[in-house]
């Protein structure tokens, strides 16, 4: 049974992949990608990776696809198409090359995979053994915030800096508190279709539920599936909903967005600095206070991720006078 399921799932994934890659319309592409996200989340559930599935659902399907769909909606036709005619030669060359190269690569890679002599990771046992020292019970959270906290820190840095980057591409270079304000809803709404009242109402009603879900995911993370990323994504989704419902978030954006954005990283680094101050390596938590540290970091990280994702969304609207 499982074979059929896997086969079906796989084929579905490939079909949707094809659709999202080859479709002519941007909207179809992005919607297909959204579907792909859902399918992949299922695949990951099938591969017994609940956390990843959650993350995919929240981040991948939720936010990532939302970004793309939004982009497709805002500019549905590929502008400038046909303006830059490629030479006649390349017209038939491109698909041919793509086909041949893709086939060759696939065949070779598949052949290699088939011959591969898999070896199970060597970190299974030490991970089990050292998990108690981290103060968390959920192994994935343990990996994220203790064993490979460095990766996580850099990665939250990436998100923060990406947010910084997109803010920098907005008015006033993301500098002043008013910057986010100015590119926000007022200019954007002029172009957006008016939001139906029902949607606005639904968004407002949905928000507390989402916030709750987010908080649950956050605090569950230490013991069970879930964690800062999933939680942050849900919270960001809540903010975006509110934004779309034209709730006035200006004060939040002006006052809180940037502090929240950097808070996670700052506290993470400072927490990492405690170790060296005590003579331990960077980013080490003593078992005694490990849980507290992880919790603080996780909470602030969630806030940071929320802010970062929200900022990405906010920055999608072009500031006026972009030229």
């Amino acid at each position: 049974m499982s074979t059929v399921l896997d086969l079906g799932l796989g084929v579905a994934v490939l079909i949707v992949t094809g659709l999202s890659l080859l479709a002519r319309s941007r909207l179809v592409m992005s919607m297909s990608f959204l579907v792909l996200g859902v399918l992949v989340a299922i695949v990951w559930l099938r591969l017994s990776s609940l956390d990843v599935a959650l993350a995919e659902a929240a981040i991948g399907t939720g936010l990532l696809s939302a970004l793309l769909v939004w982009l497709a909606v805002r500019s549905p036709l590929p502008p400038g198409a046909g303006r830059m005619e490629t030479s006649h030669r390349l017209r038939w060359l491109r698909p041919a090359v793509g086909l041949v190269a893709g086939t060759v690569l696939t065949v070779v890679t598949a052949a290699v995979w088939v011959r591969a002599d898999h070896r199970l990771p060597a970190w299974g046992e030490p991970a089990q053994a050292q998990l108690p020292d981290t103060g968390v019970e959920h192994p994935i959270t343990g990996v994220l915030l203790a064993f490979r906290a460095y990766d996580t820190l850099l990665e939250s840095g990436i998100l923060m800096l990406t947010a910084a980057a997109v803010l920098a591409l907005s008015r006033r270079g993301g500098l002043s508190a008013g910057s986010t304000h100015q590119l926000s809803i007022h200019q954007a709404s002029a172009a957006l279709p008016p939001v139906p009242a029902t949607l606005s109402w639904a968004a407002r009603m949905l928000t507390p539920a989402l916030v709750l879900l987010g908080l649950w995911l956050l605090f569950a993370g230490s013991t069970d599936s879930g964690g800062a990323f999933q939680s942050g994504a849900v919270l960001a989704a809540a903010l975006i909903l509110l934004h779309c419902a034209q709730v006035d978030l200006r004060v939040f954006q002006a006052r809180w967005l940037r502090p929240l954005l950097v808070g996670g990283v700052v506290v993470f680094v400072l927490a990492g600095l405690v170790g060296p101050l005590l003579g331990l390596p960077w980013l080490s938590w003593e078992p005694e206070w490990a849980f507290a540290a992880v919790l603080v970091v996780e909470v602030l990280l969630t806030a940071g991720i929320t802010a970062g994702l929200y900022a990405l969304f906010l920055a999608l609207e072009n500031p006026e006078g972009v030229r």
Binding site: M84, T86, L90, L93, R94, V97, G98, V100, A101, V104, L105, V108, T109, A111, V112, R115
Partner: protein, 598 residues
């Protein structure tokens, strides 16, 4: 030490004249005038040296490659006449009233002074390098004498003189280098070294050519008839009296005379050329109109005589000592006599009339007789010892001893022509006696005495004059013959018996006779060579340019190709195609072929 002073004093004074330019114009003029007046004093150390220390030597191991100057009998005699001639010339140039002085007299005196140093240096040099040094100094500073008047003739003469000097210097340099390379660094060892060298013939030829220019050997004499008339008379006097003798000295010093088997071909050639010079110069000389040109041809003729002696020394090693001593003695005599004649040219002009006229006439005739070798003159002594030296050598069946007196016939003819020409020359307004007259008188007086003294006391190898009637007759008949021939010629000229083309005004044969031919020969050769080189040059340049153009074309094509390729990857898709192809190729190449997946 005196030697060093003798060499340095003139140079120092010349330097002062040159450096006077540092002062204000008036100051410079005053200083130069003073130096000019003082200049004759600088020959005194050299003259004193010849009288006081006959075997002086001065070594300066730090100088050049180690320098030695020393005095030997030949040098002693020649130095004395050089000192006299230069002294006379300097007096003639310097001791004049300012209004009579020639323009730029400072420069003329300066060049004379430097020339003097070079000239006595060639006599004194005891090593090849200092010989070459002094010879070059003399040669090139003489150009300053020739060009003095800067008129067209002077320029041409200077140019030709310089070209010939450069050839001469180069040949001498090569010859001396070979000599030194063969171990003859010191002059005393040079003839032996040349004789034992692997390149004896080459050295001899190089030296004959090199010194031949200076000594006026045909066909290298052409500068003489051009330079002498162009230069101021005082300068001509030293040119003819002292400087041309340096070539002779060079031969005597370096040719392997008295060494080896003798009878070398070079000797025969030299002898033939010398005789040709001695006689041909007469023919050409009598056809000239300028008195100094006539004198110049006389010099060529006389130098031919002396060259004969050198040739004889080459051909007959056993007679080498006597022949070269005779040559030196003859040179001493000829230097003073000819110097007196040259100095006399302006004297005749300025003092030839009036109270001084008689004195001038007597002096000039005396000097002319001496050159011709009239009995009781120094010329007779010189000719006598020469004849003794060449006894037994014959040319084309005629004994050289019989041929040489005929030179005196020629000389007589030439000097008659000189007298004729100069007597008809313009006379300037008489002026009170000054340095010009004084110096001429001094040289005349010296001409009477010095050769005798030098020959008898300093040059014993030359032998003494035999006061026999034969000898006196030997000295007299050529003169008489010459006078007779001259009278016939004069008569013939009066009657216009000579063919129309034969005119004695320097147009039938121009001064410098062969120079035109030689010039055109040289320029032609140069043109041909340079045309050839030019062709080769242009050819190679064309090949290179063609190559460069081809390379440029190829480079431009490849640049264009690269740019086209670049424009392909300019677009994202183009770049994407390339990247994909590359990736696929890499994977296939590495994994399939390299890794062995089949």
């Amino acid at each position: 030490m005196l030697m060093a002073v003798g060499l340095a004093a003139p140079v120092v004074l010349a330097a002062i004249i040159a450096l006077a330019g540092l002062l204000s114009p008036q100051g410079a003029l005053r200083l130069r005038r003073g130096a000019t007046v003082l200049s004759p004093v600088t020959v005194v150390p050299a003259a004193a040296l010849t009288l006081l220390s006959p075997d002086a030597e001065w070594q300066a191991p730090w100088l050049l490659f180690g320098t030695v100057f020393s005095l030997d009998p030949a040098a002693r005699a020649l130095t004395l006449i050089a000192a006299l001639l230069y002294g006379g010339a300097l007096v003639a140039v310097g001791w004049l009233k300012t209004k009579d002085a020639e323009r730029g007299s400072g420069a003329l005196s300066g060049f004379l002074l430097v020339c003097f140093t070079g000239n006595i240096g060639t006599y004194w040099a005891a090593d090849v390098v200092s010989f070459y040094l002094t010879f070059a100094v003399m040669s090139f500073s003489a150009a300053g004498l020739v060009i003095h008047y800067r008129h067209q003739r002077a320029r041409r003469a200077t140019r030709i003189y310089l070209v010939m000097s450069v050839f001469s210097e180069t040949a001498i340099l090569a010859g001396l280098l070979l000599t030194a390379g063969a171990g003859g660094y010191l002059v005393a060892e040079a003839p032996a070294a040349v004789a034992s060298s692997d390149h004896t013939g080459l050295i001899v030829v190089l030296l004959l050519i090199g010194f031949g220019v200076k000594a006026g050997t045909v066909p290298l004499h052409v500068w003489l008839p051009l330079a002498h008339p162009a230069a101021p008379p005082a300068a001509s006097a030293v040119l003819s009296g002292a400087m041309v003798k340096a070539g002779l000295v060079g031969w005597i010093r370096f040719l392997p005379l008295g060494q080896g088997p003798g009878d070398v071909p070079a000797g025969h050639v030299l002898l033939a050329l010398a005789l040709l010079g001695a006689f041909a110069a007469v023919v050409i000389g009598v056809l000239q109109q300028d008195p100094k040109v006539v004198l110049a041809y006389s010099t060529i003729s006389q130098m031919g005589f002396m060259t004969c002696l050198v040739a004889v020394a080459m051909l007959n090693p056993s007679a080498a000592g006597a022949a070269s001593a005779a040559a030196v003695l003859y040179a001493v005599h000829h230097g003073l006599a000819k110097g007196a004649l040259f100095l006399g040219v302006p004297v005749v002009k300025h003092y030839g009339s009036g109270r001084t006229g008689v004195l001038v006439t007597v002096g000039m005739v005396g000097a002319a007789l001496a050159v011709a070798g009239a009995p009781l003159t120094s010329g007779a002594y010189g000719k006598y010892v020469s004849k003794e030296a060449v006894e037994g050598i014959s040319v084309m069946g005629l004994g050289l001893a019989e041929l040489l007196p005929l030179v005196a016939v020629g000389s007589t003819l030439l000097l008659m022509r000189f007298g004729w020409v100069i007597s008809r020359a313009d006379r300037a307004a008489p002026r009170p006696p000054d340095g010009e007259l004084l110096s001429w008188l001094a040289v005349c007086a010296a001409g009477v005495t010095v050769p005798w003294a030098a020959g008898l006391w300093w040059l014993p190898a030359a032998g003494e004059f035999s006061w026999t009637a034969t000898a006196l007759w030997d000295a007299s008949w050529p003169i008489l013959l010459g006078l007779a021939a001259g009278a016939v010629a004069w008569w013939a000229a009066r009657r216009r018996l000579a063919p129309a083309w034969l005119r004695a005004d320097g147009t039938t044969v121009q001064p410098g006779d062969l120079v035109v031919a030689e010039e055109s020969l040289l320029t032609g050769a140069w043109k041909r060579t340079s045309r050839g080189v030019e062709l080769a040059h242009r050819g190679s340049a064309a090949v290179l340019q063609g190559g460069a153009a081809a390379a440029r074309g190829a480079a431009a094509r490849s640049r264009r190709g690269i740019a086209r390729a670049e424009s392909t990857v300019d677009s994202w898709e183009g770049s994407g195609v390339v990247i994909l192809v590359l990736t696929a190729t890499a994977v296939v190449a590495v994994v399939v072929w390299g890794g062995g997946v089949r």
